[in-house]
Amino acid sequence: MSTVAVEVPALPDVHYLNVSYGWRSWLLTTDHKRIAWLYLLAITFFFFVGGAAATLMRLNLIEPQGSLLEPATYNKLFTVHGLIMIFFFLAPAVPAVLGNFLIPIMIGARDVAFPRLNLLSWYIFMLGGSVFLYAVIGGGVDTGWTFYTPLSTTYVNTNVISAAMGIFISGFSSILTGLNFVVTIHKMRAPGLTWFRLPLFIWSMYAASVIFILAMPVIAITMVLLMLERFFHVGIFDPALGGDPILFQHLFWFFGHPEVYILILPSMGVISELVAAFARKRVFGYSFVAFSSVAIAVISFLVWAHHMFVSGMSIYAGLVFSALSFAVAIPSAIKVFNWTATMYQGSVSYDAPMLYAIGFIGLFTMGGLTGLFLASLAVDVHVHDTYFIVAHFHYIMVGGAVMGYLGGIHYWWPKMTGRLYPEGWARLSALIIFIGFNLTFGPQFILGYVGMPRRYSVYPAEFQILNVMSSAGASILAVGYIIPLIYLLWSARYGPPAGPNPWGAKGLEWLTSSPPPTHNFEETPIVTEEAYAYAQEEA
């Protein structure tokens, strides 16, 4: 057979997407890759619902008197925005979509340890999401995503129990996914794939899965107690009956703080992959980055009361939690420096995933540094519950986690679909998102410093100019999010075929076809080299 000078990539004849058709082949699938798609569709839907809530909020905040919405409606919107974005978008985004798709492939396995449990996780997620949507459509909930008592148990008339039930149910989805990942990573690595040869995405996912396992059950029992208290009014959180509203805060934040590390660690894992691939270099300080992930997971359980510095706790307790909160910042700083240093003497390309990665590193740094303000006892008093906090966590969650997610989606899109997305549009969107994001949330740091409280639907007139800037930024950000929805959908059907390794990257996932066969590899790979072994080419 004559050889062709240039090989034109083509999709394999049979792969996991076309091996079978029909509702049942998708809704009863145990293939982790198809389950990843099921999650992708669900969370994209939830993202735009949560985004719609945010749009209405920012429109309302253009006017100091908030003429667009009633306060009651506004309160429901910020509650629903927070709950949806955290539980039904960000928590599953990287783990359940990218994690599900990639973890088995990256370790050379055929599937996760418990494929049927994996499918059950998705159904539990959908059930929880449906119950929560029922709560929203049936009137909404307006307690804030933190459900503080006794407001949520005794003083609101909204759908607290069904909202809490939705959260409770979806929590089990996360627990089972975390369990699945931990067992998969421990037990199903390919021959030769020792812990320190694993991609850093796996390390981050492992650390995040440990947090899933230990933190999610606490929100589950907290929601149970909340629902029981709201229904029976026994008084466990009601001071009039001898209960302690601060107990709720401790229980909630014991989950709540590790939760935010669930939201960022997987995206950090993505960044490690992106930086290595698009600088064609092994991540600088591999073991430091790996250990930092574990350190973050451990220390994250020790800092919860920094959300409660002004709640009336003792000074000594405040001291301890403040010190530990500084400690948790250090591993994240180590990661940022190592990612940056990876580009040194590298071969850097400016594909969209790398733009997202660079954006992540910078914006996460800004968000993380503002965390130091909050760990500082004295400073936190002034900015607590103001827009400073809102800006801080959005820099990490949106400037960080969401950009990491988008970068990962773009990077692995060719692997997942077998097709390339349009690079020009992707770079444009990344830029629009970066600009829109900073315009939206940058002014909010100042707003918080000058005193504007969060969860306010009306505000003093002198704060208007900063609010208008923020809302203008939000409109740009919204455009930035809509464009990828369009071109990614288009490219899934019409994009040019990608071939097994369009990026020239290292990693087991790039050794198999795009899209991969159902069992991921024709033959189980045997690993003989380090992760990101870019430089070790035979002469």
Partner: protein, 228 residues
């Protein structure tokens, strides 16, 4: 022959029996870790309120019927014994022994749940000791509460924690009984005669865990305030 039979029972994501065994075992241990955290929140609340309202907790403990608590403890410890013997039987591929031990464990677990709901909890309800539904202690119970100088709302808190903690535990027992019933059916069909005993082993782990939770609940709820 048995080797091939065992090989046929390896799920396709696993390379071999070893990997499957290791994975399912680790999976159950990780799940039990989540359960520790789940119950942990309740023990946290218990610790806080017992510290704040110790006399109310002691009074409340005296309102519970120790004969029930003690018999549950005996029943559960025995059921853990029969469960462990069942796991052994499965390892030794002894179908009849496995069936017998499973059925005794199931019966003990089911009896636990039945007695708890039908006699203990219903009795508490008749004595108006159910917070949120009907909490109005009278007669002997009221005397006990007054003897400890406890405030009624705080005793109500104790009873609330009692019902929630033992209720969540009972829910886990019911799930455990269902799990074992499924195992029984599989064992009846000879599923565990080929050396494939992991489901029995990990169900045993779950059962022992639920038992251990009871070992904590019993003294903390039934035995405080000089009750022994």
């Amino acid at each position: 022959m048995s080797e091939g039979h065992a090989q046929a029972l390896v799920a396709e994501q696993f390379d071999d029996v070893e990997q499957q065994r290791g994975a399912t075992s680790l999976g159950m241990w990780v799940f039990l870790a989540t359960e520790v955290l789940f119950f942990g929140g309740l023990f946290c609340g218990y610790t806080l309120y017992r510290g704040l309202y110790s006399s109310a907790f002691e009074a409340g403990s005296h309102l519970l019927k120790i004969k029930f608590g003690a018999s549950y403890t005996v029943m559960l410890i025995c059921s853990s014994l029969t469960m462990a013997l069942g796991v052994r039987a499965a390892q030794l591929r002894r179908r009849k022994a496995l069936l017998i031990f499973l059925i005794i464990t199931i019966l003990l677990g089911a009896a636990f749940v039945f007695i708890k709901l039908r006699y203990e909890w219903y009795g508490d309800y008749l004595e108006h000791l159910v917070p949120g539904i009907d909490f109005a202690p009278e007669g002997e119970n009221l005397v006990v509460i007054q003897r400890f100088g406890a405030a009624l709302p705080h005793v109500s808190l104790f009873m609330f924690l009692y019902f929630v903690m033992t209720g969540v535990h009972a829910l886990h027992m019911i799930i455990g009984v269902g799990l074992l019933a499924t195992l029984f059916i599989l064992a009846w069909r000879g599923h565990f005669t080929g050396g494939h005993y992991e489901p029995v082993e990990i169900s045993g782990l779950y059962w022992h865990f639920v038992d251990i939770v009871w070992i904590f609940l019993f003294p903390l709820l039934y035995l405080i305030g000089g009750r022994y």
